[in-house]
């Protein structure tokens, strides 16, 4: 292959140097491959051979990682790769026109790389910009609020040789990392609550924690009632207690900043505005659990935040609140939703494909590299810092009986004021929708695709762990949206993001997606409703991790809350003949080859 010969010269010294930068450690495989991808825009077989030899694994092990992540590529990519977010919110916000503009200006179609290898155009799932859709990643930066005109202008600037950052931000080189982030992406903070988005004092929680015994810190976190904010809602204090109790001389604290649930973007805002608070919370967790090493796992889509976060870390080290007893490194992800799952995230940190781990053992006893590991969400760590500052009782008093404190909601879709809202747990969906200017909502996806799709009769339900649980995403759809188009998109998302480890999720979701297509084409009958339920039940019951255990939710919750939409599309089978079978398309190829019509099925043969 041409590409293979091309990378053989220059010699592999460059690849070996990249490996060397990461200690030639196979646990840093993802970093190595990301660096190679950035340098060469392609990971060839000979590159994989070199890496395998240097870090001491088989080539197939390298290929397993390289072929798993969407942002790594075995085929050559352009010097500038434009990844358009094709989330349903982007689609409903004019994505088609933006696609057409990029395609026209760059002369390539989606999924293609230009002949001169200057540009690649592709789709990518939600990049966390639903409040400013349509959006796209352009190499390491993000373009938001795209229109056809803006897309054309960006493409032109890139063609003239401007870097993506130059093309998007004027004077970007004189700006600080934080200013650059702010110039690229709006925060859209619509409601600042008492805990996170209001005024917060610097390191007050950490100072309090420093004066406390580790067990007392855990007691305080447990007493606050804080539960994980990523979606699963496990009690944070208990998690820490398990990790602290697991016998080991090495422990880890990992912050899950793989905010991949479509429609969620609150962690983006926390990392932009409250990064110190997050690192402070991690440092407190490290003290509580007895960890000296920390990792912030940052989703590949948030690469534009990296420089800013590194600057915050550097400042903390300079201030002496980080580095001595505990330090944090940033692990970049590479385009895999599954890595938001605790075990998969740890696998990814270990330089493996992002596959969930077998449980038990749980990460708190055997996590990263086999050591006890605390994994919490960005928002959870930020809460911790505030709890240690203001006290458990203060936090506990907010919210409801079983859902304490405040929650950051990411609201997007058909509403007047999309953005982030910090509110105490327990308000009704209706109240939230009213704040966001979404009174006309017909359907709301609470908790993203893996959550629940509800209709107007559910708007008085409360946003708590016990009622309408959400990791933060609230996506609003007006009456003019097609529910099944949304469900179909969400199923295609899960098909794309399933890791493939277990049968039901790998195969079952493909079948579920095809079944929804059948409904959309009007080919379904009444039995197909039972089929949707049966297949969903099998996937939920047998899937190995949370992805498959929740992936049928778009189907099941829309079936439950919008049954008429499905019923209206079913037709009884005529004469026992399947509506899915289309004789005309089945014979069209033969008709072309034979250059004649069908005697049996072409009624107008005589004409």
């Amino acid at each position: 292959m041409a590409t293979e010969t091309k990378v053989k010269s220059p010699p592999d010294a460059e690849i070996m140097a990249i490996c060397d930068r990461f200690g030639s450690d196979h646990h840093r495989m993802l970093d190595i491959l990301l660096a190679v991808q950035e340098e060469r825009r392609c990971i060839t077989p000979s590159t994989m051979d070199t890496i395998a030899a240097v870090v001491g694994v088989t080539r197939i092990a390298v290929e397993g990682v390289a072929s798993f992540y969407s942002f790594l590529s075995l085929a050559p990519k352009g010097r500038v790769t434009i990844r358009l977010c094709d989330d349903i919110v982007d689609r409903f916000s004019g994505l088609d026109a933006v696609v057409a503009a990029f395609e026209a200006e760059l002369g390539i179609r989606m999924g293609e790389t230009s002949a001169d290898q200057a540009f690649s155009l592709e789709f990518t799932p939600c990049i966390g910009m639903c409040d400013q859709a349509p959006a796209a990643m352009i190499n390491d930066v993000v373009a938001t609020k795209l229109t056809a005109e803006r897309a054309t202008a960006i493409a032109r600037a890139l063609k003239q040789g401007m870097s993506p950052a130059e093309a998007l931000v004027a004077d970007h080189d004189v700006l600080s990392p934080y200013q650059r982030v702010r110039a690229l992406v709006d925060n859209n903070i619509r409601q600042s609550g008492e805990v996170l988005l209001g005024q917060v004092p610097e390191d007050a929680g950490l100072r309090a924690a420093a004066a406390m015994a580790p067990s007392a810190i855990i007691d305080a976190v447990e007493a606050s009632g804080l539960r994980g904010c990523g979606g699963a809602g496990f009690t944070t204090g208990r998690k820490w207690r398990f990790a602290a109790a697991a016998p080991s001389d090495r422990r880890f604290v990992i912050c899950n900043a793989d905010e991949g649930e479509p429609g969620t973007f609150k962690d983006r805002v926390i990392l932009t505005e409250r990064a110190d608070l997050v690192f402070e919370g991690m440092t407190i967790a490290a003290r509580a659990a007895g960890a000296r090493e920390g990792i912030l796992y940052l989703r590949g889509e948030y690469l534009y935040l990296r420089e800013h976060l590194e600057a915050v870390l550097a400042a903390r080290r300079a201030r002496g609140v980080l580095g001595a007893n505990f330090d944090i490194r940033i692990q970049m992800g590479a385009g895999a939703y599954i890595c938001g799952e605790e075990g998969a995230l740890i696998s990814s940190c270990e330089g493996l494909p992002g596959e969930p781990k077998t449980r038990p053992p749980f990460p708190v006893t055997r996590g990263y590299l086999g050591f006890p590991t605390v994994v919490n969400n960005v928002e959870t760590f930020a809460h911790v810092a505030r709890i240690l500052d203001r006290g458990a009782a203060w936090f506990h008093a907010m919210g409801t009986e079983k859902s304490h404190g405040t929650k950051l909601f990411s609201i997007s879709g058909d509403c007047a004021r999309p953005g982030v809202y910090e509110l105490p747990y327990g308000l009704t969906l209706r109240e939230l929708l009213s704040l966001a200017g979404a009174e006309n909502a017909a359907a709301v996806q609470v908790g993203g695709p893996s959550g629940t799709m509800v209709g107007r009769d559910s708007f008085d339900r409360r946003l708590t762990f016990d009622d309408l649980a959400t990791g933060g995403a609230v996506i609003v759809f007006s009456a003019r949206r097609n529910i099944l188009e949304i469900v179909d998109y969400y199923m295609s998302f899960f098909v794309h993001e399933s890791c493939g480890y277990c049968t039901p999720c790998r195969v079952g979701n493909v079948f579920l997606k095809k079944a929804i297509e059948k409904f959309r084409k009007g080919q379904a009958n009444d039995d197909d409703i039972a089929y949707l339920k049966d297949l969903s039940a099998t996937i939920i019951e047998t899937s190995r991790c949370g992805l498959g255990q929740t992936s049928p939710n778009p189907v099941l919750s829309s079936l439950q809350n919008f049954p008429l939409i499905y019923a209206a599309l079913t037709k009884p089978t005529q004469d026992g003949v399947k509506a899915t079978f289309d004789i005309q398309s089945a014979i069209s190829g033969a008709r072309d080859i034979a250059k004649r019509r069908s005697y049996i099925f072409d009624k107008d043969f005589s004409k």
Binding site: I60, A61, C499, T503, R506, Y531, T542, R544
Partner: protein
């Protein structure tokens, strides 16, 4: 090592040692829990999910879930077997499993599992019909990944027993599949004597020159349903 303990599978009391999985304890007690990716001698993967049981009300894979004192496990029920049949049918539809032309027929665990789980009704699942190239480059071994069920036995056997790493998974989701450590099988250190070449439950790893040697009627699963060897243990014990 601490004391052994008891738990129940479908109401039958089973003795387990600490550290044993539900499946290991069941095997020892002569209770068969259907499985495809798990095989004696290799570490557990928990990927096919055919061994899913209800344990204390939760669905778990019996091959990875530790047995615990007092557990109530539901295994051989209509509901569990229906779900297992769905999974086996998914595997049939994910690949190209044309039993009449496959040399593994009669010795194939996927096929045998379909018999055991009554996979006979008209399907509701679509056929995915993959179209992957056959790798016949190696003089002694051929690889038809269109028949692969992603059990990963060959991967674990090659790594852990042969110390080689001939096989590995590549890709993600529905595109995930077994691949080899080189351009093709001939460019790996695969050898016919490798343990990895003898653990494939289906007709994906083909040992050349061996096909159809055993006549119909004398093949492994012509002699009984899959799992009968394990169940026979209980019968023998019962007679004693």
């Amino acid at each position: 090592m601490s004391e052994s303990f008891q738990f129940r599978i479908d109401g039958v009391e089973v003795t387990a040692r600490p550290g044993q999985t539900i499946m290991e304890a069941a095997d020892a007690a002569g209770i068969y829990i259907p499985r495809l990716c798990d095989v004696e001698g290799l570490r557990h993967q928990g990927g096919c999910r055919v061994c899913t049981v209800k344990s204390g009300g939760r669905s778990v894979s019996a091959c990875t879930q530790p047995a615990e004192p007092g557990l109530e496990v539901e295994n051989d029920s209509a509901a569990r077997n229906r779900v297992r049949r769905d999974l086996v049918e998914m595997l049939f539809h994910e690949g190209n499993h044309l039993c009449p032309i496959c040399e593994k027929s009669g010795n194939c665990e996927l096929q045998a599992m379909a018999y055991r789980l009554d996979m006979t009704e008209a399907t509701r699942f679509p056929w995915l019909e993959p179209c992957r190239d056959l790798d016949a480059s190696h003089p002694d071994i051929a690889l038809d990944t269109n028949r692969c069920i992603s059990c990963g036995r060959c991967i674990r056997a090659s790594q852990d027993m042969d110390g080689k790493g001939v096989f590995g998974y590549v890709g993600r989701g529905i595109h995930r599949r077994v691949a080899v450590n080189g351009a093709d099988l001939a460019h790996t250190d695969a050898a016919l004597a490798d343990h990895a070449m003898h653990v494939c439950p289906v007709g994906c790893i083909i040992r050349k020159g061996e096909g159809f040697q055993v006549p119909i009627g004398e093949r492994h699963f012509d002699h009984g349903l899959i799992g009968h060897e394990i169940e026979d243990r209980a019968r023998k014990d019962g007679r004693k």
